[in-house]
């Protein structure tokens, strides 16, 4: 599925607004994520980035607007349904299953792509055993891909910070997404660690043909990696374009970057 229809719209966000009580968190935001691109989402704190994220992944329902993913509208879908369609995510404040092992975390990610039910679990027939083995195999592969296979039996909460971020990505990948949404994946990492992460993200696109949506504050990090960047400020989109276009946008400089960075 990935990469075949290059440069076709994968996710179309149309005039999304979201209000909490009386406060508008998002106002008429539209953007398009193409198949196979890394799309950056930046903006000052409180600009509505995470809110948009939560709307795309089904955690919030927008007040107005529409979302189209591949063929269908995502409106009214629950997170688990959105995931089933192929959008997976990570969380700003890492949300792993802290008391499960790294391997178990990734195996949970395979839930939506496997079927064994109650009866299978109890009688453990051939089909269930085969499925279980496949889940394990795939999970190991993903742990290897993100480079933490050696920690597979450690509890998630015992992993180092960087490894937790990587595990979260592996868990999301286990759901076979077409679009992977990363919420501040580099937060709390030093430049060297960021560099490694950037390589991983780029390789996900290049090797697996994934599309990615990334929120990040580190301008250097995001500019170096993204094909396309959207900028939010006070709930509105103030810029949209290639990294170069965005970097030179006066509105972005004023609201976000500050004069000397640009």
């Amino acid at each position: 599925m990935p990469g075949t229809e290059s440069m076709a719209a994968l996710l179309r966000v149309e005039k999304i607004s979201k209000r909490f009580g009386g406060i508008a968190a998002l106002n008429d935001v539209s953007l398009v994520i193409e198949s196979g691109e890394i799309h950056g989402l930046i903006g000052p704190n409180g600009a509505g980035k995470t809110t948009l994220f939560n709307i795309i992944t089904g955690l919030y329902t927008p007040t107005h607007g529409n979302l189209d993913f591949k063929c269908c509208s995502l409106l009214g879908m629950k997170p688990h349904q959105v995931l089933k369609l192929g959008i997976a995510r990570t969380f700003q404040n890492i949300r792993l299953f802290a008391n499960m092992t790294a391997l178990e975390n990734v195996m949970v990610g395979r839930h939506a792509r496997s079927h064994a039910g109650m009866l299978g679990a109890v009688i453990r027939n051939a089909a269930t055993r085969a499925e279980e083995a496949a889940i394990q195999r795939r999970s190991r592969e993903l742990l290897e891909l993100v480079g933490i296979d050696r920690h597979r039996h450690a509890l998630a909460k015992h992993l180092s910070y960087g490894d937790q971020r990587r595990l979260e990505i592996a868990r999301a990948l286990a759901t076979d997404p077409a679009l992977l949404a990363l919420d501040e994946p580099a937060a709390g990492m030093n430049p060297t660690e960021r560099e490694t992460l950037k390589d991983l993200i780029v390789s996900l696109r290049d090797r697996l043909g994934l599309s990615l949506l990334v929120i990040e504050h580190d301008v250097k990090f995001i500019m170096a990696m993204c094909d396309h960047i959207s900028v939010l400020n006070f709930g509105e989109k103030i810029a949209d374009g290639t990294p170069q276009q965005v970097r030179n946008s006066p509105a972005v400089i004023e609201a976000y970057l500050g004069a000397e960075v640009a």
Binding site: N45, G188, M189, P191, T192, E193, H217, A255, Y256
Partner: protein, 236 residues
């Protein structure tokens, strides 16, 4: 004589040693930054100094007094304040109440009122939202609140744990200006920061932590020129 003196300090969680044999000082009026990779033990070190974690070995002296075995609520009284990682504001309390908590140990109401007003002048956004729950502030505003709150305990030494974490570039700039300003007024600063370049630019002296140990220390300017450091922490 140094304001803060750390001698052979070790801190453990269970059987994992997070900080081992750290030695350093912070002088009166000095700005010192602590840089290092994730999990190097920086936050642990700050927490141990502030009395939030028990010390396994070694000693901590502050203003000539041993605070090695004191609890955090006792240490505040001596003039040491920590702005914790993640800011640690009381999100359900109002902005005003958060500041009042900062002055919890003080009884001089008039002066507290005076200083609170100064903070509102310095950060007008806080003044505008003084009756709102602090949880409704944006990340940058919360960081300002956390710093303002710490200042209200009238610290001689301010410990800051990653004040730029998760903030937009413009906001990072504002926060660091504030830190510099605070130091100008004679408050000593010990700063933990991921953004090593910025940290070394703000401080006079730098400490580099690796795997729980202080691997290197020296003048900030010298460290900033160090090729190894540039490679490891500047991402060049």
């Amino acid at each position: 004589m140094s304001l803060l003196a750390i001698q052979h300090l070790s801190v453990s969680y269970g059987n994992i040693q997070a900080v081992s044999r750290a030695d350093f000082t912070v002088d009166e009026g000095e700005r010192v930054c602590l840089i290092g990779a994730n999990g190097a033990g920086k936050t642990t070190l700050l927490k141990a100094i502030a009395g939030m974690l028990p010390v396994a070995h070694g000693a901590i002296h502050f203003a000539g007094q041993s605070i090695t075995r004191l609890a955090s609520h006792q240490i505040v009284h001596l003039g040491l304040a920590l702005v914790p990682e993640g800011r640690g504001i009381f999100s359900r309390l109002s902005v005003q109440e958060n500041l009042a908590m900062g002055a919890y140990i003080r009884r001089d109401k008039a002066a507290v009122q005076q200083e609170t007003n100064e903070i509102y002048q310095r950060f007008p956004r806080l003044g505008e939202r003084r009756n709102q729950p602090a949880g409704q502030l944006s990340g940058g505003e919360q960081q300002m609140l956390a710093i303002g709150r710490a200042l209200l305990s009238r610290p001689r030494l301010l410990l800051l744990d990653e004040p730029s974490m998760g903030l937009a570039p413009l906001m990072v700039k504002t926060i660091f200006e504030t830190i510099a300003d605070v130091a100008e007024r004679g408050v000593s600063v010990l700063l933990v920061e991921q953004n090593a370049r910025l940290a070394l630019a703000t401080c006079e002296r730098g400490l580099v932590m690796e795997r729980g140990e202080i691997a290197l220390q020296g003048a900030a300017a010298t460290l900033a020129q160090d090729a190894t450091i540039q490679r490891a922490y500047f991402g060049v």
